[in-house]
Point group: C2
Chain length 288, copies 2
């Protein structure tokens, strides 16, 4: 058996040499950055009327998600930010998605340079959109449009993920009738202000929820499920023990008593659940 | 880019040739059965006092779960049957687990040849054990003992999964204090007749639950969570839309109005969740 493993390693080395030689050739046609096989990023400026918005795109041309086919491009993932706006946190998530082979775009709801100074302002800024879902949905769809415009994105292979405020956002995106294959809400607010809009949902839904999240009342969970069931939405909900709000965000600290805290287990488990969900959405064969 | 892909394919072919040559050599040291790379099965007869029990073991010596190390053997998975007893359904699950590289053992709660003739008897037989948890736990632990005895099982890498009646069983196994790394309950009954026994739970717990399961009252879900939280159990719960009882079992038919029915999506999703959970339990590196 060890003999086999050594052979595999040798062949991998051979592969690498061949690939490197080939990449040198290919780099004449592509950019030098491609040959480095690293995640590439771009700042994308776009507009909602007179309001300037600034998103963040990440991709890696050398990798693609397991099981997906190359013909029509690569699956794209929209990332909707938490209440502090588009930060390094969302940029990191985009890079992680790019490393998995997705083309990831973190949109901007608040506007270029508009960032809350503290949680007080974050509540104010996010509250503006949570109380004006029409505006929120428009900004969400504008972000989606930017993702679709990105080079090599498969137009019919799109998912959206969001955190906290953005976890509410991806559900609103789906309620707006957006053509996305699936959405993942991480510790999102789950209220249903217009449950009839559940009829517009085309996306499959995965809700990743902290069992002890004090900011998401059980009544909201139940009304969301009632909305989804009333409209035959294909949903799943994963609930994580000992997890409160913001469980995927290290910047939330580790004090559950504050109601928002990082939980490494729940973070890794929900990320894995997202990966499996994406595989179901985009892979050519369920078992590959 | 296409140039690169062709090169990769050529190298893969080269790998395959080398591996095949290597396997021919390796097969001289191993058994002919190994070279066939097929799942092997055994019927295992064991006893609880005078009561004969008959379980089913499945394994494949050529494969092992991704990320696990060979030194201490392979992870073992105990399979606890539904209320009709050990049937072809559990044997199939054991084979599927063996194909993934696990050593799987379907235990026998009822006794050799003791099988319900119909659902009336199934309710009676399973009711006997559900109302005598001490007896149920003893039979569960006797099954676990058989799994541990199997060749090449890593004694400290054990999980247990169970369906319906067996989904209750794996939680009872954990409550008995059994040293298992993790349990997965598929559409199991979730009542907590002795919630103080939650203190004995060492296993991580994954509960896969149908959102519309009429046989598992919400009060039971809540009391189970309360029990787990009171004793700091590391639990997760995945809830599947439109799924009723028996959602993993094709023999349950497709009529949700009966309260028990097969649901292919929920079946595949819960199986994938189990695979990811096992990876967390047994793989040497979370990211491999």
């Amino acid at each position: 058996m060890f003999c086999c493993r050594r052979d595999v390693r040798r062949s991998r080395l051979l592969n690498s040499v061949k690939l490197f030689t080939c990449m040198l050739f290919a780099s004449a046609m592509w950019t030098a950055t491609v040959a480095k096989a690293e995640v590439q990023t771009q700042t994308i400026v776009y507009q909602d009327g007179d309001v300037m918005l600034e998103g963040f795109l990440a991709f890696d041309t050398k990798v693609r998600p397991a099981g997906t086919k190359a013909e029509s491009g690569k699956p794209g993932v929209l990332v909707v930010h938490q209440w502090m706006g588009l930060t390094d946190y969302e940029r990191r998530r985009c890079r992680q998605l790019a490393e998995l082979g997705y083309i990831a775009f973190a949109l901007d709801i608040y506007g270029r340079g508009v960032r809350p100074a503290d949680t007080g302002e974050a509540a104010e800024f996010s509250g503006k959109y949570k109380s004006d879902r029409e505006l929120y949905r428009r900004r969400l769809n504008l972000g989606l449009e930017q993702l679709r415009k990105a080079d090599n994105v498969a137009k019919d292979q799109i998912a959206a993920i969001g955190y906290c405020f953005g976890g509410t956002g991806v559900i609103e995106l789906a309620r707006s009738g957006a053509e996305v294959n699936g959405i993942v809400s991480f510790h999102g607010g789950l209220d249903s202000p217009s449950p009839d809009d559940g009829a517009n949902i085309q996306a499959k839904v995965l809700v990743c929820h902290g069992a002890d999240d004090p900011f998401v009342p059980k009544a909201d969970v139940e009304s969301m499920i009632a909305e989804f069931d009333a409209h035959d939405v294909d949903w799943q909900m994963n609930v994580y023990a000992d997890a409160v709000h913001s469980f995927t965000q290290p910047m939330a600290g580790d004090d559950n008593s504050k109601g928002a805290a990082y939980n490494k287990k729940a973070d890794l488990r929900s990320w894995d659940a997202m990966r499996v969900f994406f595989h179901e959405l985009f892979a050519a064969k369920p078992a590959d």
